[in-house]
Subunit: 390 residues, 2 copies
């Protein structure tokens, strides 16, 4: 049977790094001692307020169709949050509730980008971006965020990448996997480029509540970017709610949401009320990140960075945000994939080879901070032990 051209476009999207993860999951299922620090899930539980709200909605029989763009109360709560972050008046009709930030990103990108049109994306980038751009039929143009620049993109490189086919910039800050948090001056420079070439900015802010320095710069707060920024976010990372599939987009005005309405009718057809009630309760209980989770990640990143830097031949930077540490194994003589495979086989520790996130992450392994302290300590021991054998 013949498949459509989308299938071929998506098949180009390499994700070999995940094989280490899948092997680790299989190993563990077979009862073999394995520490899985690959995926970005959390050892913290979802807020009890969210669970209670979900159960209350179920008890109230809230199991029927919901408004396609989301519950008006949740849309209003997300709008308030956006207004607080950006200092800009935001109305609920700029907000579209989605089945997770990824679903929001998917819907926004395929609405803004057409076949052959270009999305400029700094790498390292989250592994779903290529598939998302491929679904739109768009062309991904990558610009580097080198380790030597602390994984920060140079706005001049973005400018150089612009062509008459450029339509949007897709940028995550804090970045996954590097944790890099762009500052106000960087966003201003990017904003000038976006304005000069009439580009959208799709701002992936799922880690925005997990920036560990001063309050992060929200691009939608800047006059250069306010009119052209679509924010996608969720509670997955900041509130330990990955499996709820509760995310959203915030558009500069209600026009894109009207288009997203038509797409949502064909794609997801609304989100469960009991999930939206849980999201609303989580936002009310903890308007920014869960404080305990945020504190733990902030502390763990320092402890892990110190432990890694004490291992001869390995090194890492202290991440500015997010929930990952990138371990630099370039001095070990092994590539990241080989390092990860041997580390798993010889010690049972699974880290994610980060090469797939982009050329600037080559030779790095991603480590998840959403891991209990005792397991992190054990992981550092295994990593040190393995490195000593090289």
């Amino acid at each position: 049977m013949r498949y459509g051209p989308l299938v071929a476009r998506l098949a180009l999207d390499g994700s070999d790094g995940w094989n280490v993860h899948f092997r680790a999951v299989e190993r563990k299922a077979r009862g073999i001692d394995t520490l899985i620090l690959t995926v970005g899930d959390s050892d913290f539980d979802s807020p009890p307020e969210a669970v209670a709200a979900c159960k209350a909605a179920l008890d109230a029989g809230e199991t029927r169709y919901t408004p396609i763009l989301g519950d008006p109360r949740l849309r209003a709560a997300v709008a308030e949050r956006h207004a607080r972050q950006t200092g800009r008046e935001t109305s609920a009709d700029q907000v579209v509730i989605a089945a997770g930030a990824q679903n929001a990103l998917f819907s926004v990108v395929i609405s803004l980008l057409g076949p052959g049109e270009e999305a400029i994306v700094p790498e390292p980038m989250y592994l779903t971006y290529p598939g998302t751009v491929a679904t739109a039929g768009g062309v991904m143009v990558v610009v580097p965020s080198p380790a030597e620049r602390a994984f920060h993109v140079d706005p001049a490189d973005i400018e150089k990448a612009v062509t008459p086919n450029s339509r949007l910039l897709l940028i995550a800050s804090p970045n996954n996997p590097t944790g890099a948090v762009l500052g106000r001056a960087e966003w201003q420079a990017i904003g000038e480029i976006a304005r000069a070439h009439d580009l959208w900015l799709v701002s992936d802010e799922v880690y925005a509540d997990l920036a560990y320095g001063d309050s992060p710069a929200y691009p939608a707060a800047l006059p250069e970017l306010a009119e052209r920024t679509v924010v996608v976010s969720s509670l997955s990372k900041s509130h330990a709610m990955t499996g709820w599939r509760a995310g959203w987009s915030v558009s500069p005005n209600p026009e894109l949401p009207r288009h997203l309405f038509r797409l949502a009718i064909a794609n997801t057809y609304g989100s469960p009320q009991f999930v939206q009630d849980a999201a609303l309760a989580a936002l009310k209980a903890a308007p920014a990140a869960l404080p305990a989770l945020r504190e733990a990640y902030a502390r763990r990143r320092l402890e892990v960075a110190a432990a890694v830097n004490a291992i001869p031949g390995l090194s890492c930077r202290k991440p500015e945000g997010g929930m990952f540490v990138l371990v630099d194994v370039r001095q070990s003589g092994l590539g990241a994939l080989e390092f990860a495979n041997r580390l798993l086989d010889e010690t049972g520790l699974a880290l994610l080879p980060a090469d797939g996130f982009g050329a600037s992450a080559t030779g790095h392994l991603r480590l998840n901070l959403g891991t209990p302290d005792a397991v992190l300590k054990d992981a550092m021991k295994r990593l040190a032990g393995f490195a000593a054998t090289l």
Copy 2:
């Protein structure tokens, strides 16, 4: 700002009929007496077993990421159901769990159909189909299912519609809105066409448990169609679980699921475990439809049909399946939209003008059988009263 070409394609998708529904919802919210029989929701509650399983999963902390294609136990349960219906061996890796049947349909259609390629669809058809085909960039080619043929499509009309660009047939049986249930001989004729021209059949079976005659003919059971049929279905209609967004596709082999995996990573990224646990419990508790719901709908369709046919100037057919009755207002002298608007304004009863479902439904109004008996009786009185004023 410029939008991508998808936005323009989706905007062509007319859905004026829904304005009657939205007006009715507003009216009711303002406290005005209104009976809303437009949407396909149910007066039955979701199975208590599903609610209990959902809460148990929440209590167990099942709130983290889940396998992208679905929980293996739920995939296996859907595979068993498919095997029972079709008499064909079915493995769990043919099954992909989705955020509702609509999400399954969306993912399947954009994977099978490319820009400019044609989907042949009998009308009347469900209102999301045009947007789904438009997302793929495909061309929808409609064939009629005239009221005079009891809303059954003539396979000869499908054959005539085939061109070298045809890629798939998209057919719902029982149909929404007509309730028409295709028989084995009709599927065989369709199967011969599909085989002769190497077409996929995308079979929308969300109402399959609500066929009121003999057991329905499942196209995937037929040798002509087994190798080329992708079934999409859910628990929304048969188990009163519309708001859970729990659906699936069943492919003829594990190849399409491998492609759907890449798409799901970019789009929905898995379904909540607590929703999947609820779906599994619902399937176990009631492998086919909820018996009480099915019996009530079967009875109500006869009562409503009798009541409508007793109103001078109105008529309707006894639906063969599904949860709707189509009221024929063509003898009233009013178009369906005008009839529906005046009916709402003068009596508070909201029915859905069915013209948007396709030319063969012109002059009909769709009435939802998932409505308490007392409300149905009241609705019939209002309808009769209004018709008497014409």
